[in-house]
Symmetry: C2
């Protein structure tokens, strides 16, 4: 596979695409610290090795060996078992792109050989359908995940191609892609996979191979979806986003991960074909989702049942499904919208999702993962037999390797360029080094910051070409005021209409740009239509959503009785080092415990404020992403507002 681009990252539009912004590679943006730098290290040292062990333990690799005739075992796990191998492979690819590793390179080679041996003569590859149900190949696409698995194989192959590894995997991927083209594009098969994923993957495969039939197949799959043709599966057409053609649907329904993987594919097809109607419909749904179906943490997917989006404004904090994979899919989609439009609102949502919904998915030591990310956990919580804590692995293990591939490639999402205008955009504030080529020459920046704990971000120009160029810094929507200085001299800091502070000038190496974001903790209120948190308030600071865990409260204070003092709450921050959590900044808030007797039927003609007894206290909050690292006690993001009676 001869990559047509030299950028090493997971979404790299071609030179002829409609991308307004151009991404940088993971070797061009090196994270050196902060929570995400730390997480990348733990991801490589702890999580990925754990993932490799689990692929053996859970049977995913054995399933492929069985398919290759190399093992005498029973098929184990779900029918999309192969996809976990591919996502893990992609995570390993990005790690190999960041730094060499004999062990990781060996894994790639071994899996490559295994895939070559397992792949059928005609290019088809799927351990479940080759071994368990050979007669049902392509016969139950609504739930077969055959193209879904193929998509993850393609993404792994693309990643390996971009970092110069895994020739065998790349070969397998191309053969499978050619087979799909033969069957679903050139052949008469009108089939569409019930689980989108292959669409964005095919576009990426086109980007590294230049093979236009891959793009054509992606385009066909996007255009033909929504006509009610994906029959079967038993969960209806909305679940599969097959209820309306993509250009007609104006709100997200059904399985959240499917909906957002599809959106990534839609924007990818737009980027490479220039079909504006695709970008338009995707933005229309983005605006609807953000306004009516998104949690404060950036998470989406309100329902456990069918792992789906809910109705508009149906956003229960306790029953939030908020699947980790949906947060990842949201980041993929938002990233493509950012490349397509250059608008900072997509980077804003990426930040919110990264620092909250996504970051909460993994324990601080990198060994346990959330599949579901609620904003509240009550006493004695149970979901079936599960008390709702993180797990090392899952019978449906889609999330952990998905987390690993995103963390390994995080540098990709930090900055972009518009080379022809000589502009560099910094979207995320993570300590590290950035290198980019503009038309005037090479730029090197160093970002130094204690973000998200502190609001000062310093960007030092380490190398700059002679000519004028623009350094554009995202002005986060959450910061009411922003200070800006160059080498200590204050500058006017007015974001442009896309949300960026632009500094266009001739830069000299050594010059320092300082951004001061307002890290004062703030109270945040929900729209009145969000019934589930009516009359409640949350605490945020910087990009972080906070939460109240039982373990941090004063003795005798029950988190489920906590209310914030309305109108006059003081919020006080304090640096802390908490066991299990590590470094953090806690927020203390003036609050009450509002205890109402439990006395039979919990509905009364007397209002609760007349039945409950309020006692002043102080409520203690920690960043949401750090929750559940100590015990399994109650947690709340939203607290009721309590007005002191006069």
């Amino acid at each position: 596979m001869a990559s047509t681009s030299t950028v090493r990252g997971p979404a790299v539009p071609t030179a002829t695409s409609r991308a307004v912004h151009r991404p940088l590679g993971i070797e061009d943006v090196v994270l050196t610290g902060g929570p995400f730098g730390r997480w990348q290290a733990i991801n490589r040292e702890v999580s990925i090795p754990l993932g490799l062990r689990q692929l053996e333990k859970a049977g995913n690799l054995d399933n492929l060996r069985l398919t290759a005739g190399q093992a005498d075992v029973e098929f184990r796990g779900p029918r999309f078992s192969d996809s976990d191998v591919y996502k893990q492979l992609e995570a390993v690819a990005w790690e190999l792109g960041r730094a060499p590793s004999k062990e990781l390179a060996t894994f790639v080679d071994e899996v490559g050989a295994l895939l070559l041996a397992a792949q059928r003569e005609d290019g088809y590859l799927n351990s479940y359908y080759q071994v368990v149900a050979p007669d049902r190949q392509y016969a139950e696409l609504a739930h077969s995940h055959e193209m879904y698995c193929a998509g993850h194989l393609f993404q792994a192959a693309v990643a390996l191609a971009r970092v110069g590894h895994g020739e065998a995997v790349q070969r397998v991927a191309r053969r499978f892609a050619d087979h799909l083209v033969q069957v679903f594009l050139e052949g008469g098969n009108p089939g569409i996979d019930g689980h989108p994923e292959v669409e964005t993957a095919l576009v990426e495969l086109y980007r590294v191979t230049g093979e236009r039939s891959y793009l054509a197949l992606a385009e066909k799959l996007v255009n033909e979806r929504g006509k009610g043709t994906i029959t079967g599966g038993g969960r209806g057409t909305h679940y599969l986003q097959d209820h309306l053609p993509v250009r007609e649907a104006d709100t997200h329904v059904g399985h959240a991960v499917r909906a957002l993987y599809l959106e990534a594919g839609i924007v990818d097809v737009y980027l490479e074909t220039g079909d504006e109607s695709l970008l338009e419909c995707s933005i229309r749904r983005w605006e609807d989702m953000v306004a009516t179906k998104t949690y404060l943490t950036g998470a989406v997917g309100s329902r456990h049942s069918l792992e789906s989006f809910g109705d508009r404004y149906e956003l229960p904090p306790d029953r939030a499904y908020a699947e980790t994979c949906a947060s990842i899919a949201s980041i993929h989609w938002n990233w493509r919208l950012l490349l397509a439009t250059g608008h900072g609102r997509y980077a804003d949502l990426i930040e919110r999702t990264l620092y909250n919904a996504f970051a909460a998915s993994t324990s601080q030591d990198g060994t346990r993962f959330f599949y579901v990310n609620p904003l509240q956990r009550r006493h004695d919580h149970l979901e079936g037999d599960d008390p709702g804590r993180r797990h090392e692995w899952f019978s449906c293990a889609c999330c952990p390797p998905n987390i690993m591939r995103l963390v390994a490639s995080l540098g990709h999402y930090v900055a972009t360029v518009r080379p022809e205008r000589d502009e560099l955009f910094l979207h995320q504030f993570i300590p590290g080094r950035i290198r980019a080529d503009l038309s005037t020459g090479e730029i090197r920046l160093a970002v130094s910051t204690d973000y998200p704990w502190a609001g000062t971000v310093t960007v030092t120009v380490d190398a700059a070409p002679d000519g004028e160029w623009t350094l554009a810094l995202r002005a986060p929507g959450w910061s009411p005021t922003i200070g800006l200085a160059v080498d200590g001299s204050p500058m006017e800091a007015a974001p442009d209409d896309q949300g960026y502070l632009r500094l266009r000038r001739r830069w000299t190496p050594g010059e320092r740009v300082t951004v001061e974001l307002d890290m004062t903790p703030r109270l945040v209120y929900p729209h009145q239509r969000i019934d589930a948190v009516r009359g409640a308030v949350a605490v945020e600071r910087g990009p972080l959503v906070y939460c109240f865990e039982q373990v941090d409260q004063a003795p005798g204070v029950d988190v489920e009785d906590l209310a914030l003092a309305d109108g006059d709450t003081r919020l006080v921050t304090e640096e802390a080092e908490l066991p299990g959590v590590g470094r953090t900044v806690v927020v203390r808030a003036d609050a009450y415990t509002v205890a109402q007797p439990r006395n039979g039927f919990p509905y009364s003609t007397t209002p609760p404020e007349a039945l409950a007894h309020a006692t002043p206290t102080t409520a203690v909050a920690v960043p949401y992403f750090q929750w559940d690292n100590r015990d399994g006690g109650p947690m709340r993001v939203w607290l009721p507002r309590h007005r002191r009676s006069t």
Copy 2:
């Protein structure tokens, strides 16, 4: 089967049982009017014929014919297909008890012959396991529903025995019960059905047959449950109530219908064995359920996922599962607790559940049914592909025949006696005639009332024995004041500690007792721990919970923006006849539309009261049980409280 009791009703403890109250038969309590009298007529004329047609259409009867070797068809529907036939049979039995019907008697005879032909030599009977999976008989009890189906067969047979029909069905039931005793009591099989139901049914079968091994098997199944032995099924131990022995569990978890059918069995076993520890644990869970897991409508089951109870105080109105069968199971359980203790709180909850959660299950014309009974429906609501309206039938059709058997036997739940104390208790206020035998002689009463539309209930003594006896009338917990008069002379109306107004005297035929309940509409507030409806208020009148449907509001008023004027809401009632709904009493309330612009991310540092614009309006409510009889628009039971800004 020789019934040991002459009482014709669905739960009739033996003479030696611990029952404090004794039930009356369905021929002793004849409903002549009101919504439930009307419903009984529609149930017989419309719903039951519809059910009989559906048993043919959906394949339930064909499955039995297939089993009997009388049809060459494929098995259709769920593995518990037979249970729908049995529930329908029970409904038909009670109808035959109320009035003869050649058509219904023929159905009973035909199904009896069919069951005799389908039943295996050894007494086993289950169309799915005889035809589809004969090798898995009793091998997958966690989800097989084999004993569950047997239980419904037994209840049908008991009903038929009590009304003097269905000799064949009774024979089949006894043979199957003897088989179960042989396998699970005398044989070494430690199996327990994942879905409770057979426990209460076995006790009932013991009651009509006197066969003590049936009671012994029920006792064993209750005692052995909760030891984690019901392996398999894939939904865990809580789902099946197999996580803790019944005497140790103190809150309801898992599948709501299973949990409450089990409770009915637990109280039935207590009633016949006198094991106080069973009654104690059941009451403990009742108090917990009522205080923390019950909806305003009496419904239970907060989660779509696993059709289960939620955590304590997890009571979302929009996502309420509130399965119709769970309301029915709750009524069964509460009735047994009432018989066991004589406490009016159980009759209070039966009333709340009957008039709201249960009554809402069926369209006013008797042709469509709710499986799920939420307390809120938003715009464009979808559950998968389903817009959340009533259906004529379901692929899992447990609810409609369950509704029909309860409606057909409703008279049973109206009154009880304590013959040895010469007391008659009137629990529900439905126009009709009541006949009972006390030790002093026969009593005949006529109940005349326009309840629940009006609060006057007149009980006329039509026949009375010479001696003193007590007429006890339930004092509903919702009525702040109660007037009481005998032949127009006011009496002191102080309920006893079990919630009954007792009038002990020598009664003369023609004497009239009048009860005046306070039908002033009232505002009802939730306990502060119920997050999902914090800051909201509901309207009740008499036993009825009200709801706000879009179709009744003024032009331009969106139900989702409605808020009730806090502190000074006037509630005005008006009799009405609404198309599709029929006779009703609407309530008009001072309200506001509180419209907040939809403007991007729905969380803000500005409180919603500063962003929303409130406009005075009048909100119109109809009884909840009458909702969804016009269109599929939005509905809310709970409205936010809006305080006029000063």
